[in-house]
């Protein structure tokens, strides 16, 4: 069923992936997964709107609440007049504490009412007297970052540059929050979270209940990308408080603006670098100074350059986090990596241009191992790198560029638990409490169970996303599948062994005599009973296998991405045309969800590279684009064709797949733009104004 040692069938295959490759059947990815064809098990529920997210838990008699927030980057709330707001029909309570705030969106209290309409009206009717203070809104408000001095004595070429990246917000389509339904001695928490169990454990005394007396439920999560990791968050804490106080279900969900302001982000970065190289491309010295823009937080702004994926000799690194008046960061898909990769990849392309080298040849030389080199060779063929023209050599209005970047990710498995029950009617239940944030957890758990037992997937039902189920990891650091897949397979194998023991006892055989293949139980290789008939011999409550995995080892995933763009040199608009995303992912469980993860990483990287930018007003520190119109994310018309290539090459074990595909994209895109126009754009996002000024600079 699974082949772990086959190479992708690309070698003798097409050298260029056509852009109309069907999403249902990508020939180069077939035959490398436990399951090539299964579509998401919860796809029907999602497509028909039947899937119930936490934000859909509209319980009878619920109250609705929202935070009252500071509208400026720094301001003191001096007086509060809520008399008009309290008169709004449906308002239950208003609690506001005057205080000094240090970022736009900081809560100072809340309004709770019978309906969302009443909440919004009351918020508008509040008369709050804010005294504004002066603000700092960026790294450069505090730090003068200039070009670094220095070079290696034996260098042939030294480049110096400053790169920067903006704040990117997670922009999950479902915002943060949830519903708490407190019933006195019991409670249910409907949480939009990436960590069912960290929410359970994070309430502390806030629910006045033991963890076993309340249940956290998150059967569907509308995206998180890191921002929904950890404990309950202030939204659920407020819901917990209100539900207890009012003895009614309490509903607290952020709106889009609150989501941008106060639910975390990818911090901004500034990287200043000098890098010395020899004629042959070897790096012989350098210095990298990075700054992370962490808003009101004190840390969490790491910028991963040098990444360790290229061999750099004698390159020193220092980093400083810089605070200012804005919401702080939270983990965001491969924290610190995309910002670092942007600087690193573009810096190497600039060095290659100075050396008169093909950047692919330079990166191939500097890459730390042969897996990267093989991937680079394969990807170059697939994107058609041979068509690449020398930097800046094109004179037409529409210029084509090619760029490449590489990625790596490793994280240790935190351990988890799973149960599989085989029932006398032949149905099989697999259970683990971890949540599905869109990755396909439900589907992969089902496939693992069916595969380990040897039955069709249609016989398996999967239960996830509840704290009453066996505890599993939070969906962060790409550990969910690497942790839960082997655990679930162990549990399924144990349940199957227990079934064999029952059969053996009844017939005086050995449990080891039995196997299952394609839903048929075999005894010493001969057909014995159909699955259903065999299960009918089980006791009324069936048999259960349960498994736990402790903290696990680290599995490394590697990837390379090639981007082809066309740049309109009259308007400065860039059009990504084609992305090849090669990703090692060990033992692939489900082809379709794996491909979907890779594509999802790429689009967020492209969107980061082209559009996304939290813009703060420099005078008052308010975010001027707290929506999805001016905080633009990639739409269907800007989307290039993305080809995910699963790289199985002799790999075993399930590996990380969520984070790595978003690491190299923006860097590869910037390299492609540099190739097309002949001048580097060193500051993300690559908006038309920056492209045009870079072109202008190249001309003069």
């Amino acid at each position: 069923m699974i082949k772990t040692d086959v190479a992708p069938t690309l070698a003798g295959g097409p050298t260029l992936i056509p852009t109309d490759m069907p999403t249902t059947n990508r020939p180069m990815n077939m035959g490398q997964s436990m399951d090539d064809n299964t579509s998401r098990l919860d796809g029907v529920a999602k497509i028909t709107g039947a899937a119930k997210y936490s934000s859909d838990m509209l319980l009878p008699n619920a109250v609705f609440a929202r935070f009252v927030r500071c509208p400026f980057g720094a301001a003191n709330l001096e007086t509060v007049d809520d008399s008009a707001a309290r008169k709004v029909p449906g308002v239950i309570d208003i609690e506001i504490t005057p205080k000094a705030c240090t970022y736009n969106g900081q809560p100072v209290g809340h309004v709770v009412a019978e309906s969302p309409v009443a909440v919004n009206r009351a918020l508008k009717a509040l008369k709050l007297n804010w005294k504004k203070d002066s603000v700092k809104t960026s790294i450069r408000d505090t730090k003068q970052v200039g070009l670094l001095k220095g070079n290696a004595p034996d260098a042939d070429v030294t480049i110096r540059a400053v790169y920067s990246t903006p704040v990117q917000t997670h922009s999950s389509l479902e915002t943060h929050g949830g519903v708490v339904d407190h019933k006195g001695d019991k409670a249910t928490v409907y949480a939009s979270t990436q960590g069912t169990f960290s929410v359970r454990d994070g309430f502390g005394d806030a629910l006045s209940l033991k963890g076993s007396d309340f249940e956290v439920v998150c059967e569907y999560v509308g995206g998180g990308f890191g921002s929904k990791l950890g404990g309950p968050g202030k939204e659920l804490m407020l819901a917990a408080k209100l539900s207890q106080k009012l003895k009614r279900p309490a509903y607290v969900m952020c709106n889009r603006a609150e989501e941008h302001l106060d639910t975390g982000n990818r911090p901004s970065s500034v990287t200043s670098v000098w890098l010395s190289l020899k004629k042959d491309g070897s790096v012989v010295g350098g210095e990298v100074m990075t700054y992370g823009g962490v808003g009101v937080a004190n840390g969490g702004g790491g910028c991963n350059v040098p990444s360790g994926r290229y061999t750099f000799a004698n390159v020193n690194k220092s980093h400083e986090d810089v605070s200012f008046n804005a919401g702080g960061p939270r983990a965001f898909r491969a924290p610190g990596r995309p910002q670092g990769a942007f600087a690193e990849e573009l810096m190497l392309d600039e060095a290659a241009a100075e050396l008169g080298m093909d950047p692919l040849a330079l990166k191939r030389k500097l890459a730390i191992d042969d897996v990267y080199r093989e991937m680079l060779d394969q990807g170059a063929k697939l994107i058609g790198w041979g068509e690449r023209k020398a930097n800046g050599s094109q004179t037409s209005v529409m210029r084509t560029g090619f760029g490449v970047g590489i990625a790596g990710w490793g994280s240790a498995s935190p351990g988890g638990n799973a149960e599989v029950v085989i029932h006398p009617d032949g149905s099989v239940e697999s259970r683990t409490g971890t949540q599905d944030i869109g990755t396909g957890q439900r589907t992969t758990m089902g496939i693992c169970t069916a595969d380990a037992i040897g039955i069709p997937l249609s016989m398996v039902t999967v239960q996830i996303g509840r704290s009453s189920l066996p505890p599993g990891p939070g969906s962060g650091g790409s550990v969910t599948s690497p942790t839960t897949a082997p655990t679930m397979m162990n549990a399924a194998t144990q349940a199957r062994t227990k079934l064999f023991e029952v059969l053996a006892r009844q017939g005086g055989d050995n449990a080891a005599d039995f196997t299952v293949k394609d839903g048929v139980v075999l005894k010493r290789g001969e057909k014995f009973l159909s699955w259903k008939d065999a299960c009918a011999k089980l006791p009324a409550d069936g048999v259960m296998g349960s498994a736990s995995t402790g903290d696990g080892g680290k599995g490394n995933s590697q990837g390379v991405q090639f981007v082809k763009v066309v740049v309109d040199c009259e308007t400065g608009i860039i059009y990504p045309k084609h992305v090849i995303a090669i990703q090692s992912c060990g033992r692939v469980i489900c082809r379709k969800t794996a491909e979907s993860q890779i594509i999802g990483g790429v689009i967020q990287g492209l969107s980061y590279g082209m559009f996304e930018n939290r813009i703060l007003d420099r005078n008052v520190g308010a975010m001027v684009n707290p929506n999805l119109e001016w905080y633009k994310i990639l739409g269907p018309c800007e989307m290039p064709h993305i080809e995910p290539v699963l790289w199985a090459h002799g790999q075993t074990g399930v590996k990380a797949l969520g984070e790595p595909p978003t690491i190299p994209t923006a860097g590869a895109l910037a390299c492609a733009v540099f190739n097309a126009i002949g001048a580097p754009v060193r500051h993300l996002p690559l908006t038309p104004d920056k492209v045009l000024s870079a072109l202008e600079g190249a001309r003069s």
Binding site: T48, S172, V221, G223, N627
Partner: protein
Amino acid sequence: MGFATSQSSMNHQSTQSSATLNGTIAIRFTLNGREVEIAVDPTERLLDTLRYRLNLPGSKEGCGEGECGACTVTIDDLPANSCLVPTFQVRGCNVRTIESIPTSSLQPMLETGATQCGACTPGVVVTANWIKEHSSVLASHTLRALMAGNLCRCTGYDGIIDGLEKWIGNPKGGRP
């Protein structure tokens, strides 16, 4: 409706008076083929009426400002962002939500991976269904252009467009 706008009234310089509207408006409209009679606050959004009062949470709120399309419904057979429509405006109209779309026909969307986290999906499907029912628009527009009002943070859109092509039986997705 956005935060920025609502917060501006918190500024002490604001002259906006407090909301004093107590009256509601009684309306009738057709919802997924059945008559509905309801009294609504003049500021109540159709999305909220559907989700919070009529128990139809299939339509999602992604932005609340007409940018993402997660709340898409059809009103008198035209797609609309229900977060932008005051409910009283659908008086006498025919409103259809995701809950009215026959599930049996949706298989192609499933197979191509048109959904990941699924938060955008109901809106995507309502728009897609409208295109399918009005496929003459494909003579002048690509599927991609027609889907431009539906944002998705997860799937990369290829799965959505391919699913639609299969579902509609039209090969004019409009590849980049």
